[in-house]
Amino acid sequence: MTLLGWLQIAALFLAVLVTVKPLGLYMARVFNGESTFISPLLAPVEAGFYRLSGVDPKREQGWLAYTLAMLAFSLAGFLALYAILRLQAFLPYNPQGFANVPPDLAFNTAVSFLTNTNWQNYAGEATMSHFSQMAGLTVQNFVSAATGMAIAVALTRAFARSKAATLGNFWVDLTRATLYVLLPLAIVTALVFVAMGLPQTLDASVTATTLDGGQQVISLGPIASQEAIKQLGTNGGGFFNANAAHPFENPTALSNLLNIFAMLWISTALVYSFGQMVGDRRQGWALLAAIAVLLIAGVGIIYWAESQGNPILTALGLDAGGGNMEGKEVRFGQSASALYAAVTTGLSDGGVNAMHGSFTGLGGLVPMFLIQLGEVLPGGVGSGLYGLLVFALLAVFVAGLMVGRTPEFLGKKIEGREMKYAMLAVLILPTVILGFTAISAMLPVAVASIGTAGPHGLSEILYAFTSAAGNNGSAFGGLSGNTLWYNSTLAITMLLGRFAYAVPVLAIAGSLAAKTKTPASGGTFPTHTPLFVGLLVGIILILGGLQFFPALALGPIVEHFAMLAGQTF
């Protein structure tokens, strides 16, 4: 570990810290339906959309109508994307003449982008036409993020309102999230990326003559625009197979920092918006503090584990004291790779600038564990906030009883109904992750896809289902996922991870919105104090740890101890 490494990490978190408030306040205005400084420009466009689609923006929906609208919109998005992928050969902007995407891969990919996961069982530059990338994948990058934001905002309103029958209008929230937040930010970010040297063209490729006289075809495309929303919307799906380790996606240390900043910005700012919208900014800061504690700890552990390197290699003289550099871009090194790895997994982004599978046991454990904690640190755009709020409800429920009152969070009593839906939501992660991992670990056809023997192989499967269930999309590497088994099971996992979580969350929102907001008193459990932050961190760690410790013990943990013991597989 070096001072410079730590300075890079500190600089990033500082940048996020100072920019959380302005964006948070801006988004609160957007979702409260207030006018903003770009309203003169966008309000007519927004009104035009409503007129075209026949949506009355003033008419709010109850939780069920909101949920059905969200599901209907997602289904339509899935069908459109699936059709584009399956018909790619007949559609325009296909300069390299790529064939139609096969059914199971198209299913997997459509689900993957619909659920904001961006798990990629293909190499983008060798599979997807420009049309598929732009009109298919990038569109979902926007709207899947906007959908997440809409759900989070609906839950936020449930806390802000008292005795309310409605949560807002899904179509309005979706439109405003895209139009006022994602689109402007993506345009600016894309232009900055172009300035940093990312290609943005409709050309297919350039052919270059290498130094030894050979011919090399270098893929190009509309990269900067997709890169921008890939990070801002915590999607993570790269244009290239190598994702952000590819120099066209991530050319410099500065672009690397901007990449990480872009993925963190909206998710963290949305937590601030939450505080603003429920009328207690301290609550926003308290949630951000819990996120920061766990995320920074994650970065630190990866950085430490990677810079320690592998004692087996050191003993063989293969490591010049530089720590573990396997699978890392030399342009970024351990610090920036650790930072990227922790943020991309804490966030459900899933873009990578290093191969997580090549990290040391502990270094690989952390990204996996960060996803298993529920993608709440700060999690995907929107989905992170509502996931975190579910944990806050659980924390308040377990510990809140200890102050001698029916637990309440922000003046809303947490009772049987909320607990029922919260447990339904929380159950989904262990069920699909552990269930599918255990089946795959026993199924010869699934085990055949593994790239490495020993516990690392189990880690590969565990990571794949973890990533899919958490809607993260990053891969451990090593596992050949483009098989019928993984394409279909991972797609099911992604669907459940997204919608089997979101629907109970909206049900919670409906139940909470209807409740009277109790004014706080000296007998109320204060939820904006360091004590609450500690409690929330503890609950997230203990719940996550208890669910996944046995599985992790057989994967990365045993890898770690085996490495220390000098054992190889």
Binding site: L424, L546, P550
Partner: protein, 684 residues
């Protein structure tokens, strides 16, 4: 009059681990193993199923001649886990039933003399055959067969069977003392009673139902907690079942016995096993405070109360105005005024008069005069003064205007000093009484509603607990404000009518607050019904008792404060043991996971941070610890976590440290100790 009917013996309060309770409880613990009954408690039900499964495996090992020692011991301890849980519930029930049983015994033996509809004839029927609206007659020496309302007659009644208070009380038709309780004894005269509760629905019956686990309805909060616990159980079930597959990949074949052991140690058996006991003990604690709740929900609501509506009279003040000061005028000495006041009050047997005598002879040291007064002038509504004539002296005390008239002084001509004193007393919410000797004004007595000692501190505690206190009084706003500030309540409702009370409660509830109040009169009934926690006095009317969700047998208005504390304690105990239970799991993983995989991956020995002797001893120790901790926590579940009236933040910090952090650390030590014992005894 039947001799064999005698009221229940005074109640014996059983100790925490009274052998008289433990014996039957042990038997009852076995009866409760019935899966049909246990299914109400999902965590323990799962434990029982797993225990049965491991028992089957043990039998298979036994028959097949495989070493059955390990699976046998695991099976035994799993059964103990279930038994300890049912035992906890049985003990809690046993304690509560001590009182309930004695009540029930008297009632089941009761007979009633039911009047025919025309009232002409009566027939003797068992009390259990009485219906709502039946009219019965009860004479001196007989027991009242059921809850009801006196419609004719007046009698003294011994209610000690219910209240534990031996002094008889008066019950009469009409007014606020018409309600009678089944099982109490009429000592004199004859009462005609209309039965207002069908058998099995009287409040004593409802209390009995709250204390008996099998019939007990789960409270909303218990339901929510049960959902959490069931959810956790499901999560661990998934984690353990899938572990079999994950282990299979690594080439380890895990036996069902060890997976069962892992499952039971992980699922929240501690809180699952004690949950019901905590609820019952909470009700029982309430009964010990002589309060009977008609639903568990009300007790929980008491913990949530935001605003306490307290009647001024009897709760905050003693209820009678008392002399607190003598203010002499016209150069009269304090002692002379005190002496005159004492003389004027010697024959005055009102509480005010007695308080004047007490103040004069106490604080002022005026001796009781030897001479008898020549004439005693009694207070009348017309003269509004009283006093004595002694020799030359004509001493009078009374309302200021009346005394001035007596002394022949007009209000304007009264000395400034006198008027100032009168004003000052009135402004402070007190009542001034003037004293004159003939035409000479001696001074003013300050009568005031005296706030009970210690009540101010009590309210300060309530404030720290986050509870607002609101005083309700019929006094005018000036008096009310003065008493409110002296007592330290947060707000007051002056010149309050029952309608005002109801409106106030509605307004507060509209803002999301929970309200508790107590009352006794029929006109309190609507407010009692509207309040989230309504406590009726045992001495109150049947209407009030029906409207309320709790009845205070001591009829003490300050009881509300204790009820709130009991409610909070109940919730806290649940929260503390849930936190403890979840925190416990961390150590169990460190005991069991390395034990399961040490053969496949020897390097996992690094996780055995407790240094447990062998894989088998580690697993057995975790299971034993998990079972024993339930027994160890039974006293805590029954007694409840200590409640301190400090703010929520301070409470949380303390309990989180104690039960969260403690729950994390304790099992590391506990499992290690059990492992040492298991190894020393060569159990594996």
């Amino acid at each position: 009059m039947s001799i064999e009917q005698s009221p229940a013996a005074p109640l014996r309060r059983p100790g925490l681990l009274d052998p008289a309770i433990l014996g039957p409880a042990t038997l009852s613990a076995f009866i409760k193993l019935d899966p049909r009954q246990l299914v109400r408690n999902p965590v323990i039900f799962v434990t029982e199923v797993v225990a049965a499964l491991v028992t089957a495996l043990f039998l298979r090992d036994l028959l097949a001649g495989n070493a059955p020692g390990f699976s046998g011991q695991i099976a035994a301890w799993l059964w103990f886990t279930v038994l300890f849980a049912t035992f906890a519930e049985a003990v809690a029930e046993g304690r509560g039933k001590a009182q309930a049983d004695s009540l029930r015994r008297t009632r089941s033996e009761l007979s009633a003399r039911r009047l025919s509809t025309d009232g002409a004839s009566s027939e003797t029927v068992p009390a259990t055959a009485l219906k709502l609206g039946d009219v019965v007659v009860v004479e001196a020496g007989e027991l009242i067969p059921g809850d009801g309302e006196v419609i004719e007659g007046i009698a003294s009644v011994n209610e000690s069977a219910v209240t534990g208070e031996s002094a008889p009380v008066i019950r009469e038709s009409g007014g606020d003392r018409s309600a009678v309780t089944g099982g109490t004894q009429v000592l004199s005269d004859r009462l005609v009673i209309r039965i207002t509760a069908a058998p099995g629905l009287g409040f004593v019956d409802r209390m009995i139902a709250l204390i008996e686990g099998a019939k007990r309805q789960k409270t909303p909060n218990e339901i929510a907690l049960s959902i959490l616990l069931s959810g956790l159980t499901l999560i661990f079930l998934i984690a353990v079942v899938t572990l079999w597959g994950l282990a299979g990949y690594s080439g380890t074949l895990l036996s069902v016995t060890v997976l069962a052991a892992l499952l039971v140690t992980l699922i929240p058996t501690t809180i699952g096993g004690l949950l019901s006991a905590i609820g019952i003990a909470g009700m029982d604690r309430l009964v010990r405070f002589n309060v009977i709740a008609t639903s568990g929900r009300a007790v929980e609501a008491a913990g949530d109360v935001d605003t306490l509506l307290l009647d001024k009279t009897g709760t905050i003040t003693f209820g009678n105005r008392m002399a607190t000061d003598f203010l002499p005028v016209n150069g009269v000495s304090g002692t002379s005024l005190a002496e005159a006041a004492l003389l004027s009050s010697l024959a005055d047997q009102t509480p005010e008069g007695r308080s004047i005598v007490a103040l004069a002879s106490g604080d002022y040291g005026v001796p009781t005069p030897a001479a008898q007064p020549d004439a005693v002038i009694a207070f009348t509504a017309e003269t509004r003064l009283s006093g004595v004539d002694m020799g030359e002296r004509r001493i009078r005390k009374g309302a200021v205007e009346a005394v001035l008239r007596f002394a022949g002084v007009t209000a304007i001509a009264a000395p400034a000093e006198f008027s100032a004193a009168v004003d000052r007393i009135a402004r402070s919410g007190g009542t001034p009484l003037a004293v004159a000797d003939g035409e000479r004004l001696l001074g003013v007595i300050h009568l005031k509603d005296v706030v009970k000692p210690g009540i101010k501190e009590r309210f300060a505690q309530m404030r720290a607990m986050g509870i607002r206190t609101v005083m309700v009084t019929g006094d005018n706003p000036v008096t009310a404000a003065a008493i409110a500030s002296e007592a330290g309540v947060d707000d007051y409702l002056a010149q309050a009518t029952p309608e005002d009370k109801l409106a106030f409660i509605r307004k507060e509830q509209e803002g999301g607050r929970l309200i508790a109040m107590c009352g006794d009169g029929t006109n309190d009934a609507p407010a009692l019904a509207q309040a989230d926690v309504g406590v009726a006095m045992q001495t109150g009317t049947q209407a009030a008792r029906e409207a309320a969700n709790m009845v205070d047998l001591d009829s003490s208005p300050t009881k509300l404060i204790e009820i709130v504390e009991i409610g909070k304690q109940l919730l806290m105990t649940r929260g503390a043991l849930t936190t403890f239970s979840i925190a416990n799991d961390v150590a169990k993983y460190f005991a069991i996971i390395p034990a399961l995989f040490i053969t496949t991956y020897p390097s996992l020995a690094a996780l055995n941070i407790m240094g447990l002797a062998s894989p088998q001893s580690a697993i057995l120790s975790a299971v034993i610890f998990n079972a024993l901790i339930i027994v160890a926590l039974i006293p805590l579940a029954l007694k409840g976590v200590t409640y301190r009236p400090v703010g929520a933040a301070a409470l949380l910090r303390r309990n989180l440290f104690l039960y969260g952090f403690g729950g994390l650390l304790l099992p590391f030590i506990g499992i290690k100790l059990v492992d040492l014992a298991v190894t020393a005894l060569h159990l594996v």
